[in-house]
Subunit: 335 residues, 2 copies
């Protein structure tokens, strides 16, 4: 039983399918009595429009796709909240949300190439994934609007933060508190996804310290795979140094939590013996009282959704904007 079609409604209302279609799409050129008859037939039959057929006919889908790595990460969730918030409201409630999780680096290219077709989604939100010129070209060829979140490409609208500046903020915060020997725990720059934010944060951080006269000690930078436990191990190594750091800057809150845990296991008191500062300000940070560099994740997701929706409506291109989001330090109980 495939449910009533537009023809059934037409027959019942004594009009043509075209007229029903017009009523359904709020076309102004339908006489009021006709509209009413059609509407009545729609109600009686419990008719609802078939989205697939409509999409095929008009040539675009009424869904927006979100491509994310680690759908599991708290920061991703936070951003998704912002996206959902925007999709669920106003005139855009019509767009559905398709989620594409990119768990392995090998899925990365595939997912993008797969999606670069207007028929599945009306636009793409690409989070935290580096994108190549060829991929952008593919999107352009198919006229598929896309916006980048936490990623950058000159030909795509994007919402970003200044990771280098974030590192500086962390450095300043710790310098003011008298720290001179400071460790860093973050992602390995050669990670399979090509993420660079951790490395950018580290650079900003170290440079700011050097400008303040603090010499860099390579032994204090510990890089490894992303993850709470991995970060814990890195921090443990740092704390076991003959001359351990008095503070640690972690490239993300998740990693900072790992650092905190390592300190606890080694009986190092925070913040007295070790200050810890993270990055992101996810929910968790507030819960554990972590001092961190806050980036407006949720707002970023919402903004990106708005940008995408606007690009879809606008159709044509225009110069891609870059929205830079403000970073602030949120002081809590770990520094």
């Amino acid at each position: 039983m495939r449910g009533p079609t537009i023809r059934d409604v037409a027959r019942r209302a004594g009009v043509s399918a075209a007229t029903v279609s017009r009523v359904l799409n709020d076309s102004p050129l339908v006489l009021e009595p006709t509209r009413e008859r059609v509407q009545a037939a729609v109600d009686e039959l419990g008719y609802r429009l078939n989205a697939t057929a409509r999409n095929l006919s008009i040539g675009r889908a009424m869904a927006i796709g979100v491509v994310v790595p680690f759908f599991t990460a708290p920061s991703v969730i936070e951003r998704l909240r912002g996206v959902v918030e925007r999709l669920g409201r106003g005139e855009h409630r019509e767009y559905d949300l398709m989620l594409f999780d990119v768990e392995g680096p090998e899925q990365r290219g595939g997912a993008l190439r797969d999606l670069a077709r207007r028929d599945r989604v009306a636009g793409l939100l690409i989070m935290s994934l580096p994108i190549s010129d060829a991929e952008v070209a593919a999107l352009e060829r198919d006229e598929l609007p896309a916006v980048l979140v936490d990623g950058t490409h000159p030909r795509l609208p994007r919402v970003v933060i200044d990771n280098v500046r974030g590192g500086e903020l962390a450095a300043e915060h710790l310098l003011v508190r008298g720290h001179r020997r400071i460790g860093f725990v973050g992602d390995h720059p050669a990670n399979p996804y090509g993420f660079t934010s951790s490395e950018d944060r580290r650079r900003g951080f170290r440079n700011a310290l050097e400008r303040a006269g603090v010499e860099s000690d390579p032994a204090l930078d510990r890089l490894g795979p992303h993850g709470r436990e991995e970060a814990g191990e890195l921090a443990a190594a740092l704390l076991s140094l003959p001359e351990p750091p008095t503070a640690i800057f972690a490239a993300s809150d998740l990693q900072a939590i790992g650092v905190l845990r390592a300190a606890e296991l080694l009986n190092v008191r925070v913040p007295d013996e070790l200050a810890v500062i993270g990055f992101d300000d996810v929910d968790l940070a507030e819960i554990v009282g972590l001092t961190t560099i806050r980036q407006p994740l949720r707002e970023g997701g919402a903004l990106a959704a708005d940008l995408l929706l606007a690009a879809i409506d606008r159709g044509g291109s225009g110069v891609p904007v870059e929205e830079q989001q403000a970073l602030t330090v949120v002081e809590r109980r770990t520094t």
Copy 2:
């Protein structure tokens, strides 16, 4: 530029569109040389199948829909992980994931009714939402497979836990430790969504206590809107009682975190002066060292996805199974 169609490929390969379609769908009745010619044409043209057209033609969508309230809740995320894990693998990688967030109770009915159509999704995963007979009937009428997670209905496959038993486990855990005066912090039974798990947990909990000879004191049950801070306030009230409880059972980990925070603010030491036990065992619980009743959220999501995929493949119905998941208590540092 709408990209090459199946006809373009057909022309180029010197065959009919039907043959191209057969090749695309791995039909066995195509001669190898023909298949190769078609494949070559596909590659040269960079052709990719239009999902919308295919869906319209075969009459079903290649996506599964997930309907969730509070997309924001950690437990929901955890379950989604399980779902994504299953969708991303094996022969089912072909299914996309559509997310339908139900933020307000008023969206509840709408979302479901809207989705009860084969044309947008091939099946539905409904999480934590009570579902009415009428809604089930609508799903059946449209032959739309659906499975319930953390919800129940006799005519739908479902994965559930025994919340009452969970409450009992919490009671047993606290009784063994000598607690007699125990508070409960949970959701109000008359919540707008119709959630009942909190209340079920409370009942199992109180009944177990009574069976052990501990009389119930209504003043020790504090119910309010779901949320960390709300739970904190409820707990604060409990702790300010002339005769405060020595332990608190929270209906969820999120609420337990609120309780912990309240204790901290009131300088009540955990677990010495106050034992706290939560429910769910989300990531957070491990991080803060919360003792809790563990329900396998991720596995539940995965299982539900498998059930749904199976139902979709099977087509017809069969007797809906109920998968009951095991509950265990995970002892950490708050009891």
